[in-house]
Structure formats: C-alpha cells, structure tokens
C-alpha cells in the first residue's frame, strides 16, 4: 500500500518505521510492568535490546531455512544476480524465528547477569503481540505477507507494493492479524496486570498458535514454504500449542 514514507528529502521504509515504533512501545510496556516481578528498569531495557537483536537474527535465519530449497534449486541464477541475492539477505523474516531468536537473546542476557529468565518472560511477553501488531501494519504498508485473492470491497489492491501482485485484489490478512494481535495484547495486559498463579507465557503461546494456524489459510505468498499441506508456520503453531499444553499438563501433575 504505502511502502515508503517521504519526509522532505528523506525516504524511509514504512515497515522499518512501524517496527521501530512497535518495539519502542513494547519496551515501554515491559518497563511499566517491571515491578510485578521485581525487575530493574535497566535490566528490562538491556534484555529487550538483546531480544530485539535475537528477533532480527532469528526471523532472518528461519526465512533462509524455508527458502533453502529454492536457493539450492536456483543457486546459479540467484548468486549471479546481486539484486536477488541481496533480496534474500535483506528481505524476508518469519515471525516464529523472530520469537525464538528473541527468547534466546533475552535468555543469553539474563543468564549472563544472573537475572531470572522466567521473571523476564512473564514481564515482557505481553509486549510481544503489541510489537507484532505494528510489524503486521508494516507488512500491510509494504504489501508483503499478502492474503488470498478477494473481490472488493473486502479485497484491496496493492499496486504500489514491490512484492504483492499488481492488479489483483487481495484480502488484507495483515490488517486482520494486526487487529487480533492488538486484541491479544489488551487481553493479556488486562488479565495479567497483577501476578497470577498462571504465567502469561503459555497463554500467549497457545493463543497466538491458534490465531496463526487459522490465518495461514488466508495467506497467499508461497515463499513461506508448504510441507505436506501445511505451511511452515502452521507446523510450528501445532508444535508450539501441543508442546505448551504438554508442559502445562506435566507441571500441573507435578504440583498436584
């Protein structure tokens, strides 16, 4: 839709601006929640920085992994074209890779400086859907991660997008996911505004896994990889929901 933002002589990437704004708001929310689990502002800030680096690295690595079959199959053409090669290196991120990378980044920080990783996760997990919502708004502006063809007014044309097909009305699944992420953020922030016996982490993981699994059926960008009828993210959603459920079940039995 609007891949670029022009500020005088400067041309900014809309996606980059939105993800930075979302991340800053996410850090703000995490800092506001710090007293719930007794963490210091400085540690929240630094752990979030490490998590932010992990998000970028993890999201990129998972994207490259899903694109590996194409990279291998068309290696000659891709590596002989600097534009295509840079496209793979610069563009393309998978949310789940970012989520796991972010958790790893935060884990490395908390482990190094003797802070409880569990407490950090309980504090900061509420920020994740907020940051993600802004990221999806960025996707909407850029026209990437587009939805299935749909007739107007439900379908929108992304004729300014360097990625989405032109002249085809597409379902704005990015906006739907942004809205659902925002809703999830408000629910988590409201329900877990006080410490509860149940951690917000499994609630978020299972909720998002369900959301993502369903939304994947409205996605139309083939680059994300399809295996045995399900996309990469659907497989991860299934594993995440089942794994989290199993973890809760085992933990509950141990505590009983």
């Amino acid at each position: 839709m609007f891949p670029y933002i022009k500020l005088g002589p400067l041309t900014l990437g809309a996606y980059g601006v939105l993800i930075i704004i979302g991340f800053a708001l996410g850090v703000f929310v995490a800092v506001m929640r710090r007293k719930l689990y007794g963490l210091e502002t400085e540690d929240i800030l630094y752990a979030m920085l490490f998590a932010g680096i992990g998000i970028g690295v993890g999201g990129k690595l998972l994207f490259l992994l899903t694109a590996l079959p194409d990279l291998i199959q068309n290696a000659g053409e891709i590596f002989s074209s600097p534009e295509q090669l840079m496209g793979y290196l610069v563009g393309g991120f998978v949310f789940y890779g970012g989520l796991f990378g972010g958790l790893l980044g935060a884990f490395l920080y908390t482990r190094r400086y003797g802070i409880s990783f569990a407490k950090f996760c309980n504090t900061a997990i509420v920020s994740v859907p907020l940051i993600h919502a802004f990221g999806r708004l960025g996707c909407f502006c850029a026209g990437c991660c587009y939805g299935v063809p749909a007739d107007p007014p439900l379908g929108l044309y992304f004729n300014n997008s360097p990625v989405a097909p032109h002249g085809v009305a597409l379902f704005p699944v990015q906006l739907l996911e942004a809205g659902l992420n925002l809703l999830l953020f408000f629910v988590l922030a409201l329900v877990f505004r006080k410490r509860r016996r149940l951690s917000p982490v499994p609630v978020y993981l299972i909720s998002y896994a369900v959301i993502r699994f369903v939304l994947e059926y409205f996605r139309y960008d083939a680059v994300r990889g399809i295996f045995f009828g399900l996309s990469t993210s659907q497989w991860i959603s299934v594993a995440l929901a089942l794994g989290t459920g199993l973890f809760l079940f085992v933990r509950r039995r141990k505590m009983a």
Binding site: G16, L89, A142, S161
Partner: protein, 92 residues
Amino acid sequence: MENKTNGKAIAALVLGIFGVLLSFWSAALIPAIVGIIVGIVGIILGVMARKEQPSGMATAGLVLSIVALVLNVVFLIACVCTIGIAAAGSLY
C-alpha cells in the same frame, strides 16, 4: 579488568559513530548491512560495558549504536520482502 571494560566502552563508541556514518549511505545495500551489523555489535558491547563499569563513554556508545541500528534499518528495510524477494517470487 578496568582496561577490559573501558575497551568495550571505547569499542561501542567507535562502532556507534561508524554505524551512524554508514547510515548516510544506506541507500546502498552493503554499507547499510554493514551498518546494521556494526550497530548490533556496538549494542552488545555497550550493554556489557554499562553492566560491568557504567561510564559516560559506555552510555554514549550504547546510545549511538542504537541510533545507528535504527537509522540503517529504517532507511534500508523499505519492505520486509524486498525487490529481490519479488524477483525470487518470479521463480515460482
């Protein structure tokens, strides 16, 4: 120990300044990618320096590295799926 920590603060400051300068050439891919990497390393070193021995230099290095990363990301990543991915998409 003190020299090691100061070294991290100095490195963070140098990388932060370098990263910000690179952002002026972010329209070119390679300087921007280098700027992002430089910003990331500067942030890590800046945080480590701030935790081990807080100082004005460590703070400046951390802040400049964050600014470098933000500028390079915003100028470069115009689209999470760039023109190169669009070209790759044409392979399907």
